[in-house]
Symmetry: C2
Subunit: 123 residues, 2 copies
């Protein structure tokens, strides 16, 4: 049976845009999630990943809210995306995770390590 | 033909252990590599990834050398590891990249996104 995003997604941590980089870092580490969804009044406005935290460190950016470091044009999966849709999305955008979104609502995330574990074991 | 680590590996950036977190972050961003190999007198002594940078941010660790934040028990691939060996290694240790090492010498790295791109397109 064809697997879709909603079949394999797991929870994605969320954080308010009016949070700072250290709070975002703490959430990432405590939830063991390399990507977190940034919300403003409960609407998805961006994502922050371990890459963005590292870049802020390289650029010596600190003490700002997440608006400064997040990626605003979020690449997301709809719940009925197939595994192939998802993997192609990862490759096309050079990313390794996407929030699963339906009608503006964040339902979870899909990540390449989760998919690789599931499917590459059949090699 | 069976693909091995040496067939698919790409360069891994290296950094001296007596460097700081901001220098490690800059190297990661400039080389577009989520993992870098840490050397001490040209010997592999650890790895630093975007995860470790993020953790240092969460814990408000700064101005130290990489010994404080790196992972010292490095999980590496030998050049003749098969793709399956590599993927199992990723899964077993919950990581997404490994340096390729032969007789203590760092030859490159293999990463799960590289493998996923190559092999999951056949889904
Ligand atoms: C181009 S990727 C390269 C590093 C790594 N492969 C990764 O996925 O983070 C790094 C950038 O992609 C962004 N990014 C990651 N996932 C994203 C997503 N689902 N939508 C939009 N941007 C995303 C991050 O915010 C970061 O700025
Ligand atoms: C358990 S992983 C989880 C996050 C993410 N999946 C990743 O691969 O970074 C995070 C930790 O694994 C460590 N790590 C990543 N690749 C490693 C490797 N090849 N050998 C040893 N430790 C590694 C990092 O240094 C970091 O402390």
């Amino acid at each position: 049976s064809e697997r879709t995003a909603k079949d394999i997604m797991i929870p994605i941590p969320t954080i308010d845009v009016n949070s700072n980089i250290q709070e975002a870092s703490t959430l990432i580490i405590e939830t063991n999630s390399s990507i977190i969804a940034v919300l403003s009044e409960d609407k998805l406005v961006g994502v922050v990943t371990v890459w963005d935290i590292t870049k802020s460190n390289a650029d010596e950016v600190g003490g700002v809210n997440l608006d400064k470091i997040m990626t605003k044009d979020v690449i997301s999966a709809s719940p009925d995306f197939t595994i192939l849709d998802i993997v192609r999305g990862f490759e096309q955008h050079q990313i390794s995770a996407m929030p699963v979104v339906k009608e503006g609502k964040v339902l979870g995330k899909v990540s390449s390590d989760l998919i690789a574990q599931r499917y590459l074991q059949h090699l």
